[in-house]
Symmetry: C2
Subunit: 218 residues, 2 copies
Amino acid sequence: MTPDASSSSIERLVAVLVVIFTVEAGKLRILLIRRSADPFKDHWSLPGGRLLPADSLAEAATRRLEVETGVTDVFLEQLYTFSDLDEAGSIAAAYWALVDPNRAKLPDRLEWQPRWYAVDDLPDLAFLNGNVVQYAVTRLRNKLAYSNVAYSLLAAEFTLSQLQQVYEAILGRSMDKRNFRKRIISLDIIEPTGRFSGQGRHRPAQLYAFKERRPVVF
Amino acid sequence: MTPDASSSSIERLVAVLVVIFTVEAGKLRILLIRRSADPFKDHWSLPGGRLLPADSLAEAATRRLEVETGVTDVFLEQLYTFSDLDEAGSIAAAYWALVDPNRAKLPDRLEWQPRWYAVDDLPDLAFLNGNVVQYAVTRLRNKLAYSNVAYSLLAAEFTLSQLQQVYEAILGRSMDKRNFRKRIISLDIIEPTGRFSGQGRHRPAQLYAFKERRPVVF
DNA sequence: GCAAAAGTGTTCTCTGTACACCCATGT
DNA sequence: ACATGGGTGTACAGAGAACACTTTTGC
């Protein structure tokens, strides 16, 4: 047995990718970085990297999320594991995360220039990252319907209108205000805090908080 | 850099596991094999094995499924990728499959002695395979509600009663015959073949077939 | 007083569920 | 004739969708 390329070894290069979502300015966005090396130099791609010795997949994904956004206590879940994103036969475990845009601070001095892109207006992506993003968007939309994952996209307190805007941005359609409120309240996942958002020349809005700031499935 | 154990290499051992389901004698069952080597010698475990050079994950899972059951053209889907099933830091990509018990022929001369076990009466499993099975059962139950995956558990033609028994075995509860038929027919995934099952001292049953014998999501 | 967003109910349709009897066949 | 599984319809309840006006505040 020759000890040369990975394609003849019994072991494999294993990488982690992270699809980091946020909702900002009424749009669902993901974080992309610009590749500084070949292959696909100067193309945009999902943040990711090699799995280090003794890393679990979740640890590697968490670390990469923190490097890019500075946050760790957010929703983060495995998405799918690909074995055909490149020609080298490496394995890529994709994760997805949801972050509040006001908490995520992108380190803009980094050489890979992280940037938020609206998912309905993405640039060409390196490798087959476009497939990964599509898969992640589908999973997010499904999960929104039967879990409280939206907690991870909002501040601790928020108005019902803000929550509705998050849902509308993710699902890509507008909803009826009365039906949305009825449904969310009947799910019993949020509660009024008693405080009000007193800003703007209009009636102040009741502030709400999620009862659980961790994943709950209905 | 030392070339010794996998825990100090940048590459990883990658394995594939397969949770192979069937429904037989009114019970949801999975295929287990008896380990012939340490660790966990003589314990039961899920079939699996190393990812060979140039294998994709799906190829490795398909091959393992064929070795165990002789079938390949069945429902097979990735489940989850684990990095903490053993202490060696290896990566295990779990898949799940659905097979018709009449087509799966277990090679009973194999040293690992494959056997069907009812999921509600499993023996102690090696590694953390119990978690994997639980996860697969949950996924199967969910998927049953919004896809046609049951096609892969039945012969090409079947009666509505046989189909209902499959659903009841998977979900672990009995259903009303009239409501079941109404719902399945309204899903528009099966059609009558015009032939009848003329066996038994009772009225012959209309035979049905799935319109698509490949995964369709509603 | 006016602009802007907050807040609130009713009606209808559709889906899921509960429930019981006759039919065709083999022995 | 009887035992066995095959086959069928109706009524009720709950969920989701459509739809418009009043309230509170800042300016």
